[in-house]
């Protein structure tokens, strides 16, 4: 056998070729190992993040804004989720028919939708905010690409315009903008949280990885308001403003024992659920943010000061000079001229001359201190946005005539809540009570301003004022003893008193034997009748009667028909 030697077998390769191959492979391995170390050990964040994004999701945990309820737990402001429809303009493709259907669902015109999409800058435009979840679901059924929805909250106010001014409202982002919603924004606002979870292929959450931030629901708020009394107060005020064709009106009901505000209403008002057409006049919470010259409702404070100083007693006779008193160039007039009045009658008949004479027997400083102690010239401490302090000038700048006019409420301005708070010294035996918009559990911290004896004496005078022979017989209520004082003041306009524009007011409390409720009513620019006793006092009587019944307050007077004087012998108040 001769094996033909194959030339291939005899071929000898140069040894460098195998070494080269080995080196190339070794180099390749080294590179791979290096890369692996780099990716897995040194620089692994990027890939890990990429991997996690396949299964891990950060979810937002929504938080509710706190509910607001009245003192009996009746809800008066509730947030509920709604949807907002937004679009990415570049990705939206829809035909005419779809536009028309979308427009009808969103209650917009088709042109409006097209315009919004065209005008949008960037990748995001709201088509409509705060639509109901049902509408949002029907929009989703249209399956229009580029259209998305997001969850938002909307606040509802079941009582509507009745409580509008106290509650205020929230904006589109559920942030308080007015009233209690703004004042207590911190407590009410919820803090949304977030958490990281693992989701499976079907989008179901299979594991909770970590809680990044716990969601915190807003705190619920219980207001001092009683929605039953609020409703009566609002209805009566509204009808009085309509009846007297007045520009505006306000009413405050206060619990004398606790200082809680049980009702606070203003007219004109608005519906907080639908604020598309709002004017500044409607928005104003006049009882808190507006001040006015109160007129005769301020007389009792001067009288109380004079009684406290021991200078006069209720039966001291003051010569009222047949209804006029000249101080320098000015003369003060009484509508109801009398030669002489007792101190009690000064209140009962609301005599300007009498009040001025008593005021001039006191020092300016002591009068200023009295006004200051009952809270005039300082914010009433409700923590309400925009609460007014009123104007109380320092006593050193007072002229004699000013000291005289201030005794009957001119040259000084107060808000209605300041006025009702100040009256708590007569209703509470001399103590000033702090006001509260929130429900109060602990007894309030009060400050004594005058002695209990003085307060009782003034109370007796205020009782005379609402009886026959006083300025406000229309404030009487069957079955209860009532105490109160009317006020009628010319309105100031551009630094002058307008002769034909008045502010009529009434402040009072009941039952006079053991006061429980105080009510202050203010009617701005009534036309026709303008005396506080005729315009404001009837509102007081109606609301007080209902409120006492609602709170089951026992009557303290025998029930007999209310006697109203004839038109001719009615006591006219001095303006």
């Amino acid at each position: 056998m001769n094996f033909a030697p194959s030339p291939v077998l005899t071929l000898t390769l140069p040894p460098w070729r195998s070494r080269l191959l080995l080196a190339v492979f070794a180099g390749g391995f080294a590179f791979l190992i290096g890369r692996a170390v780099y990716l897995q050990g040194l620089h692994n964040d990027f890939l890990q993040a990429k991997g996690e994004s396949r299964y891990s999701r950060v979810l937002e945990i929504p938080a509710n804004r706190g509910r607001i309820s009245d003192r009996n737990g009746e809800p008066i402001a509730i947030s509920t989720p709604v949807k907002s429809i937004w679009a990415a303009p570049d990705e939206v493709h829809m035909d005419k028919q779809q536009v028309a259907r979308l427009a009808s669902l969103l209650e917009l015109s088709p042109r409006e939708i097209q315009k919004r999409l065209k005008d949008a800058r960037g990748e995001f435009v709201f088509l409509k905010r705060q639509v109901s979840p049902e509408t949002a679901a029907r929009v989703a059924e249209l399956r229009i690409p580029g259209l998305s929805e997001s969850r938002e909250y909307r606040r509802y106010y079941p009582l509507g315009d009745v409580m509008a001014h106290v509650l205020g409202f929230t904006g589109a982002d559920d942030v308080g903008q007015e009233g209690v919603e703004l004042a207590f924004q911190e407590q009410l606002a919820g803090k949304p949280g977030s958490r990281r979870v693992i989701k499976d292929r079907l989008g179901q959450i299979v594991e909770d990885v970590e809680s990044i931030r716990a969601a915190q629901n807003g705190r619920d708020l219980a207001l001092a308001l009683d929605s039953r009394i609020q409703n009566v107060a609002f209805t009566q005020l509204k009808s009085a403003v309509l009846r007297h064709r007045a520009r505006a009106g306000a009413i405050v009901v206060m619990d004398v024992n606790t200082g809680e505000i049980l009702a606070l209403a203003n007219v004109p008002t608005y519906n907080p659920n639908n604020r598309s057409r709002l004017s500044g006049a409607q928005l104003r919470n006049r009882a808190v943010t507006d001040t006015f010259e109160p007129g005769s409702t301020l007389k009792p404070f001067t009288i109380a000061l004079a009684l406290e100083s021991g200078r006069v007693r209720p039966d001291t006779v003051i010569a009222t000079g047949s209804g006029s008193l000249t101080i320098g160039p000015a003369t003060i007039h009484d509508a109801h001229a009398e030669r002489a009045l007792t101190v009690a009658q000064v209140i009962q008949k609301s005599s300007n001359v009498g009040a001025a004479k008593i005021a001039l027997s006191l020092t300016a400083q002591s009068m200023w201190e009295m006004f200051e102690h009952v809270g005039f010239g300082a914010p009433p401490g409700l923590d309400f946005p925009g609460e007014a302090s009123g104007k109380l000038r320092p006593y050193r700048t007072w002229r004699t005539i000013e000291q005289a006019t201030m005794s009957y409420g001119h040259g000084i301005s107060v808000s209605l809540v300041q006025l009702i708070r100040a009256y708590s010294i007569f209703a509470r035996d001399g103590e000033l009570v702090p006001l509260s918009l929130l429900k109060v559990d602990a007894p309030p911290v009060v400050r004594r301003v005058v002695s209990a004896q003085t307060a009782r004496m003034v109370r007796a005078m205020l009782e005379l004022a609402v009886q026959r022979g006083g300025t406000a017989p229309r404030a009487q209520i069957a079955g209860y003893r009532v105490a109160g004082k009317t006020g009628t003041a010319h309105k100031q306009e551009d630094g002058h008193y307008a002769t034909d524009k008045y502010v009529s007011s009434f402040v009072g409390f009941a039952p006079a034997s053991r006061p429980r409720l105080a009510i202050a009513v203010m009617i701005d620019e009534p036309t026709g009748e303008y005396y506080g006793g005729k315009v404001a006092a009837p509102v007081f009587a109606e609301v007080m009667a209902s409120a006492l019944r609602i709170l089951d307050v026992a009557p303290d007077a025998p029930i007999k028909p209310i006697e109203l004087p004839d038109e001719s012998d009615e006591i006219k108040e001095s303006v």
Partner: protein, 91 residues
């Protein structure tokens, strides 16, 4: 020696299967928990909406309107009310 290895292998496999099953069960239960929590939230929202509705139906003005117009009710005259003092020894 071989027998021990085989037994250990069997134990290992059993453990592994057990782990898989329990993990699966845990995930299922978790998904269920999630669903229930979602339901809680939805019910909470509904509760709020129902409260809102109840509150709207029971506004004082509506009650008063129905009472006075449909049911012909009215407030008693003050003379028609008899006040009764509660007995002293009871709250």
């Amino acid at each position: 020696m071989l027998r021990v290895t085989l037994i250990l292998l069997a134990v290992l496999v059993a453990c592994a299967l057990g782990l898989i099953t329990s993990q699966h069960k845990a995930r299922k239960l978790f998904a269920e928990l999630e669903t229930e929590q979602e339901r809680t939230r939805a019910l909470d929202v509904e509760y709020g909406q129902l409260q809102l509705e109840a509150s709207t139906w029971s506004t004082q003005s509506r009650i008063e309107r129905i009472a006075s117009q449909r049911l012909r009710m009215r407030h008693p005259a003050p003379s028609g009310v008899q006040m009764v003092e509660p007995p002293k020894n009871e709250p």
